[in-house]
C-alpha cells in the first residue's frame, strides 16, 4: 500500500469505477453510499441513486448521514413511500445494480447481516438484520458487494443467509426463482472477486497495487480460487482521491 492513499480509499475508488453512468443503483448506507456518490461525482454524473427511504434519483452534494438523510429527499427526482420503493421500483427489476455491504460473506456470495455465532435465538453477536438487502440481492440486475476482506468476514459458511448470492452453486438462483443476476463483483480492501462462470465460486480476479495473492488467501476463510489472468487495479487517480476526500470531509456537516 502506498502512503498516498489508504486501502479503504482504494476499495471505495475501485467500487465507484464499477458503476456505469446512467445506471440505476440501489444504495445501502456506509461504504456503498460513499462509493456511489464518488461515482456520481466523477465518471458517472447520470448515475441514478435509489435509497430505500423512497428517494429516487437523489443527488446529494455531501455524504448522507443515513439512508433517510433530508438531503436525499431535497435533491431527489421523486420521493415515494417505502412500500412503493420496494414494490414498484425494486421488485419488478427496474434497478440495474444493488450495492451492498456484508458482515459475513461466503464463496458463493451469500451474505449475512443477521447473527454471528451461537444459535439464532442466543447469538454471540446480534447484527442489525436484513433491512432491504434480501430483496435487493434477489431483484437487482446485478449486485456489487463492498466489504473489507478478513477471516472473520470471508467465511466458508455464513452463520445465517440474510441475502442470497449464488446459494450453493450454479442454477440455485433460477431454482429459487430469483430474477436478478446475483453478485457480479465483490470489492474489498485487497482486490476484487468475481464469480467463475461455470462454478459461481468467487474467484480473485484483481489485486490492488502492492497486495499479494498470499495476503488475499490469508484473509479468506475458504480455499480462494485465483484467476489465471490476475489483473492489478489502477491506483486511485489524483482526481478520484481529491473528490473522495472532499466527500468524506462533508461527513457530519450540514
Amino acid at each position: 500500500m502506498s502512503g498516498a492513499y489508504t486501502a479503504d480509499e482504494m476499495m471505495t475508488v475501485a467500487a465507484a469505477r464499477q458503476l456505469r453512468d446512467g445506471a440505476a443503483c440501489f444504495v445501502g448506507i456506509g461504504l456503498p453510499s460513499t462509493a456511489a456518490n464518488l461515482a456520481r461525482a466523477t465518471h458517472a454524473p447520470n448515475l441514478v441513486l435509489v435509497y430505500e427511504s423512497g428517494c429516487l434519483g437523489a443527488k446529494p452534494d455531501r455524504l448522507p448521514l443515513s439512508i433517510g438523510d433530508g438531503i436525499l429527499a431535497d435533491t431527489a427526482d421523486a420521493v415515494v413511500s417505502v412500500p412503493e420503493v420496494f414494490n414498484y421500483w425494486l421488485q419488478p427489476g427496474r434497478i440495474d445494480v444493488g450495492f451492498l455491504g456484508a458482515a459475513q460473506l461466503d464463496r458463493y456470495g451469500n451474505i449475512n447481516t443477521t447473527v454471528i455465532g451461537g444459535e439464532y435465538d442466543d447469538p454471540t453477536v446480534r447484527l442489525p438484520g436484513a433491512g432491504g438487502a434480501p430483496e435487493i440481492a434477489a431483484s437487482c440486475g446485478e449486485v456489487v458487494v463492498i466489504v473489507r476482506q478478513n477471516l472473520r468476514t470471508f467465511t466458508e459458511r455464513v452463520d445465517f443467509v440474510t441475502s442470497v448470492g449464488y446459494g450453493s452453486g450454479p442454477g440455485d438462483r433460477q431454482r429459487l426463482g430469483l430474477r436478478g443476476g446475483g453478485p457480479r463483483m465483490v470489492i474489498t480492501d485487497l482486490g476484487v472477486l468475481e464469480p467463475a462462470p461455470d462454478t459461481c465460486e468467487l474467484t480473485l480476479t484483481r489485486l490492488h497495487p502492492g497486495v499479494t495473492v498470499a495476503q488475499a488467501r490469508a484473509a479468506t476463510g475458504w480455499a480462494l480460487a485465483v484467476a489465471d489472468q490476475l489483473v492489478t487495479n489502477e491506483p486511485p487517480t489524483a482526481d478520484e482521491l481529491a473528490v473522495l476526500r472532499a466527500l468524506e470531509a462533508t461527513k457530519g456537516t450540514r
Binding site: G68, P123, P134, E135, V161, G167, L178
Partner: protein, 272 residues
C-alpha cells in the same frame, strides 16, 4: 375527527400495557417524544413493531417496556449497532426480548395489507434466505393464474401506531412531507393512532411532496414541538448527529444508560 390532546393524555389513553405498538418513521420524523412519554408512563409487555427500530426503540427496550420486537433492521442509523437491543437479545437484559424478524419489503407489505383490510400480502421476497426458518409467519402462495410460487406474509394490525409529523390543523388533519416512509400505512393499519406534530396550525397550506392524513382517520393529535429530536423534521429541524454518535457510548454501558434515562427521560416533563 381526531382529538387534540396533550402528549401525556394521548399516551395514557391510547397506549396500554401488553399492546402491539408501532412507532414508525424512517430516519426522519421519529416520534422520540412519544417514546419517552411511554417510558415515563411505565408501559410494560409491549410488542414493539417497526421496520427500523433505532435509538428510540433501544431506549424503550433498555427501559424494560418491551417483551417482543417485530422488525426488519435494528441499528443506530449511520452509526452502528444498538447496544440495548443487543444486550436484550444476547443477555436478556433487562429481560428477554422475543424477536420476529422480517425484511423491509416484507414489513412494508405487512403494513400495506393491514391498511388495506386484507389478511395477507404477496411479494417476491425471503426466498432462499434463512429468515423463514426462524420466522414462522412467512409462507408460500401459488398464483392461481400462472402457478408461480410467491411469498405471503400476514397483515400487521398494531393496537396503536404513533408517528410524528410536521403539522396538523385544529380538525386533526395531519400533514407531513420529506421522507414519509411507511407512516401512512402504519397509521391506517392500526386500530388506534396518535400523531405528534411540530405545530398545530389554523390551516394546512399545501406543500410539495406532502402526505395528508385526514383527521377522521386519526385517533388523536398532540402538539410536541421538537418531538422528533434527535432525528429531524424537514422544514423544522436538522438531525442532531452528535446525539446519534454519542448514543453509542451511552448505550454500551447498562449503568450509564440507566442514568441517562433517569436524567433525560424520567425527570423531564412531558411536553405540552
Amino acid at each position: 375527527m381526531a382529538k387534540l390532546v396533550s402528549l401525556a393524555e394521548g399516551v395514557a389513553d391510547l397506549v396500554r400495557d401488553g399492546d402491539v405498538v408501532a412507532l414508525e418513521g424512517f430516519t426522519h420524523l421519529i416520534p422520540f417524544a412519544a417514546g419517552h412519554e411511554i417510558i415515563r408512563q411505565g408501559r410494560r409487555d409491549l410488542t414493539l413493531v417497526r421496520m427500523t427500530p433505532d435509538v428510540i426503540y433501544d431506549q424503550l427496550i433498555g427501559a424494560g417496556c418491551a417483551r417482543r420486537l417485530v422488525f426488519s433492521w435494528g441499528g443506530n442509523p449511520g452509526v452502528g449497532s444498538l447496544h440495548r437491543f443487543r444486550d436484550a437479545v444476547q443477555n436478556a437484559w433487562p429481560g428477554p426480548l422475543e424477536l420476529e424478524e422480517h425484511s423491509h419489503a416484507g414489513m412494508a407489505n405487512r403494513y400495506v395489507a393491514g391498511a388495506s383490510g386484507l389478511p395477507f400480502a404477496v411479494l417476491r421476497g425471503y426466498t432462499g434466505t434463512d429468515l423463514p426458518r426462524h420466522t414462522a409467519n412467512i409462507r408460500t402462495i401459488t398464483c392461481p393464474f400462472t402457478g408461480e410460487e410467491l411469498t405471503a406474509v400476514p397483515a400487521l394490525r398494531p393496537d396503536v401506531t404513533v408517528v410524528h409529523a410536521q403539522r396538523a390543523d385544529r380538525a386533526g388533519n395531519v400533514q407531513m412531507w420529506g421522507i414519509t416512509g411507511v407512516q401512512k400505512e402504519a397509521v391506517l393499519a392500526a386500530r388506534r393512532s396518535l400523531v405528534t406534530v411540530e405545530e398545530v396550525v389554523d390551516e394546512l397550506s399545501p406543500v410539495p411532496g406532502q402526505v395528508v392524513l385526514p383527521g377522521w382517520a386519526v385517533t388523536a393529535v398532540a402538539e410536541a414541538p421538537g418531538g422528533a429530536h434527535p432525528s429531524y423534521a424537514q422544514g423544522y429541524s436538522v438531525r442532531d448527529n452528535d446525539f446519534y454518535v454519542g448514543w453509542d457510548a451511552i448505550s454500551r454501558d447498562r449503568d450509564r444508560f440507566l442514568d441517562w434515562v433517569r436524567q433525560q427521560v424520567l425527570k423531564a416533563e412531558a411536553m405540552a
